[in-house]
Symmetry: C2
Subunit: 379 residues, 2 copies
């Protein structure tokens, strides 16, 4: 298969922009990515736009703003994995041999829905039973605490770490550091979660310019290469008998490592889907960063801090950078690429040469209906 | 690039199914396509689901019903071209070399919205000015009548032809033939359109099984091959100065013919996007089936009837078969494949060896924001 490299990335600071349209959010991210690549819009041969709730023709509305028309534009939806699924479609388009330069954009405007719970399908029986996302994850957290002795104070250290990282990231929605005591004293949402253990809702956009590796040196010298592009479907919140194993991510991780010919020991920086505090801990184990049941101790050891052995969510993650669904997967790649290029400033992970991004979502109308997308990049 | 062939097709009869969920609509179409191919669900390596307004995770909800999980599932949106864009993504997935067997499903449940005008974006300024789709197309019809002398009676012959074809298609939503007088006497919608000149709203699903040509003979003998898979963006309803030239289809047709190494004289059967009566006439010209301004005479000559030189919309088209947005592009391919295999029964186009499908839509938030997807198939 043809090699694919990242030649440009850009995003807007995540936040709440109720007065802006989806196109208002998206085009500056696209412009930033094209500017980072140093190429004109007319060089783009195809575009893929990830959005979960952006409505029809999101990509066309965004790209129309910079006159980018006349090319194939495909809108892609996969719940919280929409942006990373769009990335995978862009990679596949280059692998197919049809295109050399492809644009990927992820975008979402959640303030359109007035905040709070997202609009879900009538036929989604979990939601009709009150099993909205915070409740689902809270049950998993309770189970994990019961099974492995994780304490509430340990769990609260996830938002402490990610908010500290977010304070170093000008693109993060939440830029104020918090303490364990502040996390525990915040407004309760679903026990054991307080508000600070749930990702905020907000708006955002991020974009990526991809190029066939064989042509990428014409665009820039400091290339970041795609080593694995994985997408799968399955159980989003674990099996019915083991709700603390994220089956879809465990399987996806194995497939991604196999594609890349790499293992967890090779990963120096990772952006994982920390929609709730417990999620990041479950993913430490799913990716093999630590052993089953040891995620709390692994976190407390400092291994996943920016100066640890595997920096996890140096951008602030979903908890601090924010989680505008379709934008999230693309923004994770923006962070990984900046880290691998050594452009991450005060949150730079020293010596990062291999990075991983992970976006997973769904669970709509049945626990089985999830998506998980994992990408591995290397210089 | 790797060759791609169609090895299975299936659909449900289009109609109004208010009591059914999106998954209820989708899975029987998938099952029919897999049955037509004679393969088990586990042979499918990746799936692409086209839907415009189906909500999050449509593909996962549908495929979960037949236990098809653990594979990459991508949901694709491109307004009225959603199903054909999903098809193109499926083709690209095989061309990339990653998969040999791919499933494509298109689905929509428009009865969810109570019928009538579709839910469109707030930021869509045409709609806020009253320029809903029937109004936009009515203006184009008026202009065409003014410029080329097309009469109201000529225009009314499009639904007469397509309803006659639909009467021969058990999967069509509208199966009653109509006369020119009935068309002209029907309830007015937007002058010159009466109700019978506008496609009905409804629900539907259609599915396609694709296989790498190099492996397809293992599945079946009577293969239909993809000769062109085209997607582009641009002006959906013509330029501001020439509203009767569908720019995006003219350009897309040229690109599709070039890919296939074929021209309009080679096409024996075509399913084109006749959302309104005038549209089919404009597409005769856009595809080069007849010369500019001569579409009315071409229709009256009988050239586009089932026994004509280029049978157009033998399935009944959008006007009779129906137009559940995401399902439309996939259902067009179901018809073309059945025609090329000689399985179309009373509406069989004699000697059909090359066929074309065409789905175009959009125009949301600016006339520029359209999509057009064209596929050419041959035995």
């Amino acid at each position: 298969m043809r090699g694919v490299s990242v030649v440009g990335v850009g995003m807007i600071p995540f936040g709440k922009y109720p007065a802006k349209s989806l196109a208002d959010l998206g085009w500056p991210a696209v412009k930033a990515a094209l500017g980072d690549a140093g190429i004109a819009p007319r060089k783009v041969q195809a575009a893929f736009c990830g959005t979960a709730l952006g409505g029809m023709m999101a990509g066309q509305r965004i790209l129309g703003r910079i006159g980018l028309t006349g090319i194939p534009i495909v809108n892609v939806e996969n719940a919280c994995s929409s942006g990373s699924t769009a990335l995978r479609q862009g990679i596949m388009a280059i692998r197919s041999g049809e295109y050399d330069v492809v644009l990927v954009v992820g975008v979402e405007k959640l303030t359109k829905f007035g905040g709070g719970t997202l609009p879900l399908e009538e036929e989604d029986w979990e939601v009709s039973q009150g099993l909205v996302m915070p409740a689902l994850y809270a049950m998993r957290a309770q189970r994990y605490m019961h099974d492995f002795g994780l304490t509430a104070r340990q769990l609260a250290q996830i938002p402490v770490k990610n908010r500290a990282n977010g304070a170093l990231n000008p693109d993060a929605q939440m830029r104020t550091p918090v303490t364990v005591d502040q996390v525990l004293a915040a407004r309760p949402v679903a026990d054991p979660f307080t508000l600070l253990q749930c990702c905020p809702t907000g708006d955002g956009a991020a974009a990526i310019v991809l190029c066939a590796t064989s042509r990428a040196a014409e665009i820039r010298a400091d290339l970041v290469h795609v080593r694995a592009s994985e997408l799968t479907s399955g159980r989003y919140v674990g099996g019915y008998r083991d709700m603390t194993t994220p089956e879809i991510t465990v399987r996806g991780a194995a497939e991604a490592y196999e594609q890349a010919g790499l293992g967890p020991q090779d990963i120096r920086v990772a952006e994982v889907h920390d929609a709730f505090s417990i999620a990041e801990l479950l993913y430490y184990e799913a990716f093999g960063f630590c052993r089953r049941g040891e995620a709390g101790a692994f976190l407390e050891s400092g291994a996943t801090a920016i100066d640890g052995t595997i920096a996890v969510n140096p951008s602030g993650g979903l908890l601090a950078k924010g989680h505008p669904l379709g934008a999230t997967g693309a923004a994770q790649v923006v962070e990984i690429v900046r880290q691998l290029r050594g452009e991450a400033g005060p949150r730079q992970v020293a010596g990062a040469k291999v990075g991983l991004s992970h976006a997973t979502g769904g669970g709509i109308s049945g626990f089985d209906h999830g998506a998980c997308s994992i990408h591995i990049f290397a210089t």
